[in-house]
């Protein structure tokens, strides 16, 4: 019989005793692997849903998007000729006023569609009318389909009428499904869907109005989308439309999902690593329990390799069981996600098995098991039978042989490599790996300090205190494992809670304090004097600011076409489609001129621009260099006169490109404005504008921030739930430690009882022990978590940091509570143990 066969046979015999020693190992692996597999599977399912619905989300095979202008007649003719079908739609913001209302109004997202709409999917209405029926004209009024919350907001019913611009709209149906709109995406107001003629009748679509023009195209069967787009670009090289195909149907959503997946995977990985401590402890305590067997086997002539083989096989089998169970649970995540949060998901996830996500999770599971189990196994191999008996009191300083240490190091390296290679953002992955190592080192160092302090004071207190302190510092003490496992989970939770609390403060307190009360959009040039008067005459308003706004696109950098220019990644956004432009005689108050000079207020000469310093760096241009801009079809070449440092996090508007006077005044344009107002004056401001200018869209900043806060709360809940997994994993480890140490505790408790200790005295000892370890863990975890949160808030999000003691205190209290509860769960019964059972020799 070969060694491996014998090892198999003996391992099987040992496993007859059941899974008792392996429960924590299995649970830790199951939890961690399930978290990673679950996040991965759900993400793949959502992305698969995105892919499957791509045509519908895009509204056709190809979507073309223009800012502030519709396709020209020539462009439209080309599309008609080259595509199987074309649909045009316009989206813009507008104000809706109930016809029979008394001063009510709301900002809406207005969408005008042609008869071909939608080319893919279908609009579902309630009552079930066809779109044509719902949008048809009836005398003076145009039909409209609306989001149900518009009815609630304006206290309207179907059949009632609203006025948008100059058009009367009768609300015929509510929208149950709009194929090219992604659920849960940030919007400023409810949708109103109307026909193209109705949109024209509103009179809102003026030159320069803030509007989005979409042309969706269905290709002839067999037509290649890539080639079609190339043809289009050749025919209209300067049209400036943003072109998306079905493989890029919802890039924002895709980016968001990838980002969330990465973050949640890291949280799951942290849970798995915390579980790794449990795995190491479980293996160690299992092997400790097998000391007599190992010694006997060795005495009977079993070579060390065979002994290791027997236990390696058992641990491998149990690890695979844990990983398998985790994969099964994780694979069910898409179904669970669909069942729990269908409404919050941007698209319907495609239920299915995602082998890629499961393989990654299994890889993390196997490597974690290896990294944490090899060391205790290696020690068992090296330990001579004689010293096994005294290991707990005076641990022989035994290290595993070099091969085992090298294998452990290789497993850790492989874990790091897998983390980095499977991450969609490498830099983030490196930060995660570094942060994890640093966190674990700090926690381990803290634990070492705790045991050293306990050792120092152990022999000074009374019996109870001595029991406590010797338990913390004795050889084989569980304190370092406790601090590390609970501490890691808690540090993650503290960091998440503090980051979220900081963001909430930013959105809830700081932004409302510094942001204007209103944004006004689409002010027509001829309305400017009357508008200015209307707003500034309301008592209480201040900080009024109004600037002209146009859209333009950078098409050339220092004489080189944008397509051929080298542009740094951080500045790519500036050439991706149209950007907002303005012109000004004086520099904006908010931004700082870092290079060059502002032009004289009465400047009139060749075109000059002021450029954001960051963009200039990304473009590789400086003062005197030229940028070519396409403004509504007209190309303007302008010299850079100065560079500005812009704080893009400020809630006030600023422009990356500002023209000197004399260039853009005659171009079609609208104005945008902001004003500050105390909350009690907001209604008066809105009324003053709405009564006179029905075309001007009014954005209440407070409401927008509330919507943002709601979105943030949803994301925060998901992240907190994931972080709770880490803590749960820590609690499992703690439970395992308590269970493993139970025999020792029963022994200690029985001896103490025999010697006259009351239950109260023993209880006091346990409370003190777990309380002390919990307090130390809480303090270290709060420190580490706060450091992580600070780094993220200050360096990654570049916003102001506020320490919130309540969050930290809650976390520290939580640590003590979790430590005590999980510790007691394993120890409580000890108090009631009958001594006699443990004392007989017979």
């Amino acid at each position: 019989m070969t060694g491996i066969e014998l090892a198999f046979r003996l391992a099987r015999r040992e496993l007859r005793a059941g899974l008792k020693g392996f429960r924590v190992l299995i649970a830790c692996l199951t939890l961690g692997v399930a978290a990673i597999a679950g996040v991965g599977s759900l993400s793949e399912a959502v992305l698969a849903g995105l892919k499957a619905d791509a045509r519908m989300l895009l509204g056709g095979d190809i979507a073309l998007h223009l800012h502030n202008r519709s396709a020209t007649g020539k462009e439209k003719a080309y599309l008609r000729e080259r595509a199987a079908a074309v649909s045009h739609a316009v989206e813009m913001r507008a104000m809706a006023y109930p016809l029979a209302g008394q001063g009510q109004r709301t900002l809406v997202e207005l969408k005008g569609v042609d008869e071909a709409y939608p080319l893919a999917g279908s609009v579902l209405l309630r009552p079930p009318l066809s779109l044509a029926e719902a949008l048809a004209r009836d005398g003076q009024s145009w039909g409209a389909a609306v989001d149900a919350n518009l009815l609630a907001k304006l206290a309207l019913r179907l059949g009632d009428e609203v006025r948008v611009g100059d058009a009367r709209l009768v609300l015929r149906a509510t929208i149950a499904a709009e194929p090219d709109r992604i659920a849960g995406v940030f919007s400023l107001g409810p949708r109103i869907l109307v026909g193209a003629d109705a949109l024209a009748a509103t009179g809102l679509l003026l030159p320069g109005s803030q509007s989005h023009h979409y042309s969706r195209v269905r290709l002839a069967p067999g037509e290649n989308a890539g080639a079609w787009i190339e043809d289009l670009n050749r025919a209209f090289p300067r049209a400036g439309w943003r072109i998306r195909g079905v493989d890029d149907a919802a890039p924002g959503v895709r980016r968001f999902i990838e980002r969330m997946t990465l973050f949640l995977t890291f949280v799951g990985l942290t849970a798995l690593l915390v579980g790794g401590i449990g795995i190491g402890n479980a293996v160690k305590s299992y092997l400790d329990g097998k000391t007599a067997t190992i010694a006997t086997l060795k005495c009977l002539g079993a070579p060390a390799q065979l002994v290791v083989g027997i236990y390696q096989l058992q641990i491998l089998a149990m690890s695979l069981a844990g990983i398998g169970l985790g994969l099964v649970l994780g694979a069910g995540a898409p179904a669970l996600g669909l069942w729990l949060a269908a409404a919050q998901l941007p698209v319907t996830p495609r239920i299915g098995l995602y082998p890629g996500a499961l393989a990654v999770a299994a890889g993390f599971g196997v490597l974690t098991a290896f990294a944490f189990a090899l060391w205790p196994l290696g020690r068992a191999r090296e330990t001579p039978a004689t010293s096994l008996f005294r290991d707990l009191v005076a641990p022989a300083q035994i290290r595993p042989r070099f091969a085992v240490m090298a294998a452990t190091a290789a497993a850790i390296l492989a874990l790091t490599a897998l983390t980095v290679l499977t991450a969609t953002d490498r830099a983030f992955a490196y930060w995660f790996v570094g942060g994890t190592i640093a966190t674990m080192l700090v926690l381990r160092g803290g634990a070492a300090l705790l045991t050293v302090a306990a050792a120092r004071w152990a022999h000074r207190g009374g019996a109870v205190m001595r029991l406590v302190l010797t338990n913390i510092h004795r050889p084989g003490t569980p304190a370092p494992s406790l601090v590390l496992s609970i501490g890691t989970g808690l540090a993650v939770l503290v960091a998440v809670a503090l980051i979220e609390a900081n963001l909430n403060r930013l959105i809830g307190d700081r932004l409302p304090a510094t942001a204007p009360a209103f944004f006004f959009i689409d002010i027509q040039p001829h309305q400017v004097p009357a508008f200015d008067r209307a707003v500034t005459s309301v008592a209480g308003t201040s900080g009024f600011k109004r600037v002209p706004s146009l859209r333009g696109r950078v098409v050339g950098i220092a004489g080189v076409a944008v397509e051929e220019a080298e542009i740094a990644a951080h500045a790519q956004w500036a050439v991706r489609g149209d950007r907002a432009l303005t012109y000004a005689a004086r520099p904006p108050r908010e931004s700082l001129i870092v290079e060059g000079e502002w032009w004289p207020a009465d400047y009139s000469g060749p075109p000059l621009i002021s450029l954001d310093a960051g963009i200039a760096g990304g473009f590789g241009v400086g003062i005197g260099d030229r940028l070519t801009l396409n403004v509504l079809g007209r190309e303007i070449e302008a010299s850079i006169a100065n560079l500005r440092e812009i704080d893009w996090r400020s809630p006030r508007f600023d422009f990356a490109i500002i023209f000197a006077p004399g260039t853009l005044e005659q171009a079609p344009q609208t104005h945008i404005a902001t004003v500050e107002s105390p909350p009690e004056a907001e209604e008066a401001v809105e009324k003053a504008v709405a009564d006179k200018f029905s075309n001007i869209s009014i954005v209440r900043v407070r409401e927008v921030l509330q919507t943002a806060a709601r979105l943030l709360a949803g994301i925060g809940a998901a992240v907190r739930a994931a972080a709770a997994f880490t803590l749960l994993s820590g609690a499992l480890v703690l439970g395992g430690i308590a269970a493993a140490g139970r025999r020792r505790r029963v022994h200690d408790a029985v001896i103490c009882k025999v010697l006259g200790a009351t239950r109260r005295q023993l209880l006091k000892a346990y409370v003190l022990e777990y309380g002390l370890v919990g307090l130390a863990t809480g303090l270290i975890a709060v420190t580490v978590g706060t450091a992580i949160a600070w780094a993220v808030v200050v360096h990654a999000m570049r916003t102001e940091w506020i320490f919130l003691p309540a969050v930290a205190a809650a976390a520290a209290t939580g640590a003590i509570a979790v430590t005590m509860i999980a510790g007691f769960a394993g120890t409580w019964r000890v108090l009631g143990e009958k001594a006699a059972r443990h004392l007989r020799n017979e």
Partner: protein, 237 residues
């Protein structure tokens, strides 16, 4: 106080004591009607084959095991009337126990182990007394050693010092020399009997070694949970 005790009567009185325990194979009758009186200052060996109930009887006398029926009076205290904590306090005052397996707390040094009973009782001189007792058993030079750093005989002497330190009325020893070689075992017994003499402690020791039983004035023989013999010997401690 329920736990104070009274030494006017016998130190141990067992009347019709039955002890049934539920094991994996069902209910087992460990003690089947024990009637026994032991007076103050006696030395009693409890002998008998394995499984005859020797250790269980010791546990019943110490209040570590509650009999299924019958009366247990130790130092005049009816143990059946005490709750768990009162029993702990009772032991603290009147009972010292020495085990075959020593049962020292492995994380505490020798002197800390010995001081424990006095510390539990709130005595301020715990460590001074512990040092004296350890010196008395010949371990004055091993005060700071952990159990793992002591030999079997030394560990048993620490366990004895711990049992004596509170000057108990009754000293119970369960196979105190069972894990020791002959010479070490004899030395341990010498210490045990010396203390008995010094403190007039009632000494009850479980053994199945005839030479150990021979050192006691009285030998009680247990067989199958019953007293099969009870004979007085001439004392020669």
């Amino acid at each position: 106080m329920l736990t104070n005790g009274d030494r006017n009567g016998p130190d141990v009185r067992l009347d019709g004591v039955h002890l049934n325990l539920i094991g994996e194979a069902g209910e087992v009758n460990i003690l089947r009607g024990i009637d026994l009186r032991i007076d103050g200052g006696e030395t009693v060996a409890v002998a008998g084959p394995s499984g005859s109930g020797k250790t269980s009887m010791l546990m019943v006398i110490a209040g570590l095991e509650t009999p299924t029926s019958g009366v247990v009076e130790t130092v005049g205290v009816d143990l059946g009337r005490l709750n768990e904590d009162q029993l702990a306090i009772f032991r603290r005052r009147h009972i010292g126990i020495v085990f075959q397996d020593f049962h020292l707390v492995p994380t505490m040094t020798a002197v800390e182990n010995v001081a424990l009973p006095l510390e539990f009782a709130g005595s301020g001189e715990a460590f001074g007394r512990a040092r004296q007792e350890l010196a008395a058993v010949g371990l004055g030079h091993r005060l700071g050693h952990y159990p793992g750093q002591l030999s079997g005989g030394e560990q048993q002497r620490v366990a004895m010092a711990r049992a004596f330190v509170a000057e108990p009325t009754i000293l119970l020893a369960d196979e105190p020399t069972g894990n020791l070689d002959g010479a070490t075992g004899r030395a341990v017994l010498d210490v045990l009997f010396a203390v008995h003499k010094r403190l007039n402690t009632t000494l009850i020791l479980v053994t199945h070694q005839p030479e150990v039983a021979d050192r006691c004035a009285r030998v009680v023989h247990l067989t199958d949970g019953r007293i099969a013999g009870d004979r007085q010997r001439r004392s020669r401690p």
